[in-house]
């Protein structure tokens, strides 16, 4: 199959790259190797939460923080993509979210500080409006509301943790649990099941009533696991919050992320219905190179390999999440150029024993040129018309520094612009 520019990937970097191409009037083909990382990791777009992995002091102004980071670390992917790419890409995404019917809040100027499901404060830049009332810079007391039988969100844990780092007296953070009609404890159910039920108005009204009947002081805000509707953005949230009678905010839960699912489903649908073709279920697993250019990539399609011949390629792969990179005992290998991206004496060198410490595997990826082309050991581009975006770029830990979203935007945007010029 021939294409103008092929984008491989399914996460935010791939979507931003594809949207950039579409807005520029170019013909993008989006190749989807499998599920999107948005289902796991995205509820918010984090641009820069912590300036490095050692500090616990969150970044207040992400744009200024990134500018400083670029100055201090000229090899950092943010420096390679450039501050302009972050600004333009963020503007493009913000506008796209609006066009696709989302109501989001935030800007590059200032981070919000939002409680996580375990009650830790997390800096985020762009967030769904349904999360915004959780901002810890506001002072209203918080009541975490969980559901009996749903253990992916434990309100008591969140309250205990948050009251250590935030709030003044004992009353400022509390936990309650209500039971959900039809969800008997002991039965197996997930956030997806609950989210689907919340789309039903009668169910919503009943749950809102149960929360209202819980003794609560005036002026509290209610933090709930993000289950307020499976596919809707604000409709379910708004009507539910009105019935509860207090400000309500959603908190991202363990995977699968309902917030990520809402985001990905609707952006994918929007871009597809506006004319971008998607190739589903076809992992790309080889590239054919000649004269320093990538001539084609091969997809694993039903029955046979499907070649994609494009003028340029954006590899918006997502490291460990989408299975793009393959780990052997000693080596991590990329699927296109069969380059060894990392060597480890033993596989355990890739991980730190503490789950909450920076993980070496997180920064494994392609080394890239200042135009985001993958480079070999000699520092020269492996192919002049291939550009890497997103988590598969080496040299940063997107999770630890809370910068996954911003880097996806900046590198997705920049890679698309480079692909257009190639």
């Amino acid at each position: 199959m021939k294409a103008d520019i092929a984008v491989v990937g399914s996460g935010l970097a791939a979507l931003v790259a594809t949207r950039t191409l579409q807005q520029a009037g170019r013909n993008a083909l989006l190749i989807w190797p499998g599920l999107s990382s948005l289902y796991f990791t995205y509820a918010t777009v984090d641009v820069l939460g912590y300036s490095d992995l050692t500090t616990t002091q969150p970044v207040d102004q992400p744009e200024a923080g990134v500018a400083q980071l670029i100055e201090d670390h000229p090899e950092h992917p943010y420096a390679l993509a450039g501050l302009d790419a972050l600004r333009s890409g963020t503007a493009l995404l913000t506008e796209w979210l609006r066009d696709a019917g989302f109501t989001w809040q935030g800007s590059l100027a200032r981070n919000l500080l939002l409680p996580t499901a375990i009650g830790t404060p997390k800096p985020s830049c762009l967030v769904p409006a349904s999360m915004a009332a959780g901002d810890l810079r506001r002072t209203e007391p918080i009541v975490f509301c969980g559901f009996h039988g749903y253990e992916d969100f434990v309100p008591e844990l969140a309250a205990a943790n948050l009251s250590r780092s935030w709030g003044g007296d004992d009353q400022s953070v509390r936990a309650i649990r209500v039971s959900l009609p039809g969800f008997e404890p002991g039965r197996l159910f997930t956030s997806i099941d609950i989210a689907r039920s919340f789309e039903d108005a009668a169910f919503r009204r009943e749950v809102a009533g149960r929360i209202r009947r819980e003794p609560a002081v005036d002026g509290v805000r209610i933090g709930m696991p993000a289950v307020l509707g499976l596919t809707h953005d604000m409709e379910v949230y708004s009507s539910f919050a009105a019935e509860v009678g207090h400000p309500v905010f959603e908190i991202p839960t363990l995977p699968p992320s309902v917030l990520g699912l809402r985001l990905f489903d609707r952006l994918r649908k929007h871009i597809q219905e506006s004319g971008v073709e998607m190739v589903w279920a076809a992992p790309a697993h080889a590239a054919e190179l000649s004269d320093g250019q990538c001539r084609r990539i091969l997809l694993k399609s039903a029955g046979r390999e499907q070649p994609i011949d494009a003028r340029a390629y954006v590899l918006a792969l997502e490291d460990t999440v989408d299975g793009a990179l393959r780990a052997g005992v000693h080596t991590v290998v990329d699927p296109f150029f069969h380059q060894a991206l990392a060597h480890h004496a033993v596989p355990t060198d890739r991980t730190d024993e503490s789950l909450f410490k920076p993980q070496p595997f997180a920064s494994v990826g392609y080394r890239v040129s200042n135009r985001l082309q993958p480079i070999g050991d000699d520092g020269r581009p492996l192919a002049g018309n291939v550009f890497v975006a997103g988590g598969a770029i080496a040299g940063y830990d997107p999770v630890g520094s809370k910068s996954r979203g911003g880097l996806a935007i900046a590198t997705g945007y920049r890679a698309a612009r480079e692909a257009m010029a190639a």
Partner: protein
């Protein structure tokens, strides 16, 4: 995936992922159209890889809930680790059916071809019966086929016989020495043969218009109705018969299917789920009709002297089409035709999944799964809804009252075919 040596990495990429490759990420459950529509279904993750770890050949099959899997394969399309979720579910279902014995309905729906042949031979009577409320009530009580589900109309003149009558040699296309550059074998499937002969006529017309010789080898049901109705052995028997016949074709003959799911069986399931020897080379030369026409276009071999077709169309991509991993060739093709205004609707599964939505206890669920699509189709108000899969078309017509067509119908019209 962990391997010992870097040198074996490329091999591991080719293999089907073992059950251990499932990282329990739950992505499959989030996209499963059944799990999204009911809370009585525990989802592909639990019924596929998670249960698989506890299944052994020696023990009795645990099949509770397995019948709610509609077989759309969106779980496999979504799985980032390429776990063959569907195959685990199908095998367990099959084992359960072997142990407890198959129901009358399993047998009836698994033998679609036999049934269709009978329906076609007795077409006026069968069509009358399928629309008669009393007959349908009896069918519901005795076999378990929901009385509200419209059943496809049978045609007395089959595609096979039409082809025999209208082409010079029996079951072999018009040989046009020195003219044709390509020869294709048409796998028309039961649907075209017994229910929608016109679609087959159009496929033949379009291919011949492009100077391609069409031959129609003798063929059996592709086997998918048997696969989804707990009879893998029967499907394997059908598949092996098709593989034997299609393997005998000269090496330069490509195989074309106009049914999404028949094509997927030939391309993929024969060599994977059914493990039919010799199936891989057959799959490697099987093409969906639109995929093939687009390939001709890219090679500069497609006649693009299209007449304008002034129409507003809505394209719905069938779930099994996504499993082909070839994009949406129909949309590319139709956008070459002047006058065609084509929009896409991305509302996921239509809900029917072949014989799933026909069953008495699944009908309501099937309509609920499709409800998002139905609403979108009604809101769009187009001339026709296009889908490559015949049961998607039946479901959209039933759920919306809109007209539907296979994409090649528009191509045929653009070629002046009436």
């Amino acid at each position: 995936m962990i391997t010992d040596e870097i040198g074996t990495l490329s091999d591991t990429v080719e293999e089907a992922a073992p059950v251990e490759a499932c990282t329990k990420c739950t992505a499959c459950n989030t996209v499963c159209p059944v799990a999204r529509s009911t809370d009585i279904f525990r989802g592909p993750k639990f019924l596929g890889p998670e249960s698989e770890r506890y299944r052994s050949q020696a023990e009795a099959a645990v099949t509770a809930g397995l019948d709610l899997c509609s077989g759309c394969k969106l779980c496999e399309v979504t799985c980032p680790s390429q776990v063959t979720i569907q195959e685990y579910i199908r095998r367990a279902q099959n084992k359960g059916a072997e142990e407890r014995g198959r129901t009358l309905r399993d047998w009836v729906l698994g033998h679609t071809r036999l049934l269709s042949r009978f329906g076609s031979m007795t077409a006026p009577l069968a069509n009358f019966g399928n629309r008669n409320p009393l007959v349908r009530l009896v069918m519901e009580k005795v076999i378990g086929i929901h009385r509200k589900r419209p059943l496809p109309r049978y045609q007395w003149l089959t595609f096979e016989r039409w082809f025999k009558r209208n082409r010079s040699l029996p079951l072999v296309g018009r040989a046009r020495e020195g003219v044709s550059r390509r020869t294709v074998a048409y796998f028309y499937g039961c649907w075209v043969n017994y229910n929608e002969r016109r679609l087959g006529e159009m496929v033949v017309h379009i291919l011949e218009r492009n100077g391609i010789d069409v031959i129609v080898p003798k063929q059996q049901c592709c086997g998918i109705p048997a696969v989804v109705n707990s009879n893998i052995d029967l499907a394997r028997k059908y598949g092996a018969e098709n593989v034997r016949r299609l393997s005998g074709l000269p090496a330069n003959v490509d195989i074309i299917a106009s049914s999404t799911s028949c094509g997927l069986m030939l391309k993929h399931d024969y060599s994977h789920l059914l493990e039919i020897p010799g199936a891989e080379p057959v799959g490697a030369r099987t093409y969906d009709i639109c995929e093939y026409l687009w390939m001709l276009y890219e090679a500069g071999e497609l006649d693009i002297a299209f007449q304008p077709v002034e129409t507003r169309l809505l394209y719905h991509a069938p779930c099994h089409l996504k499993s082909h991993g070839m994009g949406y060739p129909a949309t590319r093709l139709l956008r070459l035709i002047p006058g065609v205004h084509l929009d896409e609707v991305d509302e996921g599964c239509c809900g029917i999944s072949g014989t799933f939505g026909v069953k008495v206890e699944k009908y309501d669920l099937s309509m609920k799964i499709g409800s998002r699509l139905f609403e979108a189709v009604k809101a769009a108000g187009t001339d026709s809804v296009l889908a490559d899969c015949e049961t998607c078309r039946l479901q959209v017509e039933h759920g919306t009252g809109a007209k539907s067509a296979h994409p090649v119908e528009i191509v045929a019209r653009a070629y002046g075919y009436r």
